[in-house]
Symmetry: C2
Subunit: 296 residues, 2 copies
DNA sequence: CAATTGATGTGCATTTTTGCAATTGCCGTT
DNA sequence: AACGGCAATTGCAAAAATGCACATCAATTG
């Protein structure tokens, strides 16, 4: 490839456009000797003359005029690109990628939908489930994480809502099996738990320590399935307070405890944190969260 | 302008395309460190991140992906341009600009027409007349010059045909004024000459030295007008041998002399001389000139 | 016709860029 | 849980590009 130095192309472009080495050097902000050497090097590698040299300057040959057209297009496109990139930091357009644990989907989805409506030029992608999506790989702009404060470098984390979880069972279950009066009255009852043994969710560790394994009769790896199981009357299980609070088919077995709940964190990559798109979304999300029944 | 270093754009392009700094450095033939520094500099000037850095390489942000598209187009266009420029040296296409003194138009035009027919992709421009068109300014590819060998630097000149000029008059003029028997018998005759006092044409200097000024009754600045005047019977004048030879309306007053004639030269700019287009035309022209009645 | 202007070309000192090698950090594997 | 490998960094020396001053040449002007 002869054009393995795009700067020389740019130099040749200005020479072809302006007609003299001196003028091009002036525009480029370099010494005219540099311009001459760029042209010489480029022509040498091409094996063809781009300019005819004479006392009044450089005039482009056919090859030089051809280069002029191509470089002109490049120049224009780069200018537009620069504008887009600079503007993009101040606009809420393109794609907004948000990731969170599946259990928050119910809360987040309406907010994302509203945000999408408020910004018609925006496309929203909500990633959840199967695996952890990582900000440092550029897989998402914003992550809502649960648990201890994330302290990965290059990530900025700010505290979000505290999720409360309580023990619930379906009205149907309570009618069949009776209402336990307290933690000491759990004998004979069935429980719904997580399939993941090494889950670090605090309520799951509490269940693991306080409920005999043989009483955990239904295990699932998805939060949503656990909720379905509890509602279907399989047994007693932890449910998020916001989800169970206004559901008349559910009975609270034990009220939420602080030790069961989890803090959540809004996490962004430091490179994207300052952009208008991310900032706008974070403000929008925090405003919407004020109406969440997370303390139910 | 943020993109004032197109080489950095090229570097960023390869990083965006390949996903890692190392792979890009490999393709570019430079060190990893150079690639990193290019990216850092470019991002710094843009004020925006083009890549998210992580342990497995660089992944392009939206801005980086946008740059990838633009740079991809540039890369493609430059590749095509390189192909065109390299190929153009071996093809007879585009424009062929030929310049000569007006007096040779009659001889050259048919050759140019034939050459044009032989190379359909070629456009021919024939410049003559008003002023001297200069090869060093790229105004023409080939010049046919008369007189002493041109010795301008950067021009290559090769000897072409010798033009012979003789003294002619119209048959009508001779019938009216009589046929002079030789140079000593010119008294009372009328002559047609050049308007340009300081013309360096040898036949014109001969006339200036041997014919009294008052006998030069018709002066013109264009060769073609001089020929018209002689044919119209205004007087005796120098005409090119090839032009007068087979014209029954013209009478040769004095046969051509070597001292009147002029050598002609094929001149090309050194930068263009080696190209196929110019070489092909020169061969074609020299072949055609073999049939010219320039010694008439 | 001489002087001046404005342009290109070239040797040399300096600044900038680049290459090198050692380091760190992270991921996947043993 | 430790190890090996790959990729990104970073300090320092070498190399390359650049700037500068001067030379040169052509065209224009007085």
């Amino acid at each position: 490839m002869a054009f393995d130095d795009w700067d020389e192309v740019r130099t040749a472009y200005h020479v072809a456009r302006l007609g003299t080495v001196s003028a091009a050097a002036d525009v480029l902000g370099v010494h005219h000797a540099t311009v001459i050497r760029h042209i010489d090097a480029l022509e040498g590698r091409l094996g063809a003359k781009l300019f005819q040299r004479h006392a009044r300057g450089y005039t482009a040959t056919e090859a030089g005029q051809d280069l002029l057209l191509v470089a002109q297009a490049t120049q224009d496109q780069l200018s537009q690109l620069a504008g887009r990139i600079k503007g993009r930091g101040n606009e809420v357009t393109g794609e907004l990628v948000v990731t969170s644990v599946t259990s928050m989907s119910e809360l987040l989805t309406p907010v994302l939908a509203d945000f999408r409506l408020a910004h018609p030029e925006l496309t929203v992608r909500f990633l959840t489930g199967s695996r952890l999506f990582r900000l440092e790989y550029g897989e998402a702009h914003v992550a809502i994480r649960a648990g201890a404060k994330p302290n990965e470098p290059d990530n900025v984390a700010q505290r979000f809502v505290d999720l409360c979880v309580g023990l619930y069972a379906s009205r149907d279950y309570v009618e069949r099996m009776g209402m336990p009066k307290g933690p000491d009255d759990f004998a004979g009852h069935s429980f719904v738990g997580l399939d993941d043994e090494k889950s670090r969710a605090p309520f799951q560790r509490w269940m693991h320590e306080n409920i005999p394994a043989e009483q955990i009769v239904f295990k699932t790896n998805a939060d949503i399935s656990r909720a379905h199981a509890v509602r279907a009357g399989v047994g007693i299980g932890f449910l998020a307070g916001y989800s169970a609070h206004h559901d008349d088919d559910l009975v609270q077995i034990m009220p939420p405890r602080a030790e069961w709940g989890a803090s959540t964190w809004l996490v962004t990559h430091v490179d994207l944190h300052r952009t208008a798109k991310v900032q706008t979304f974070l403000r929008f999300l925090k405003q919407a969260a004020k109406d969440w029944p997370v303390h139910g």
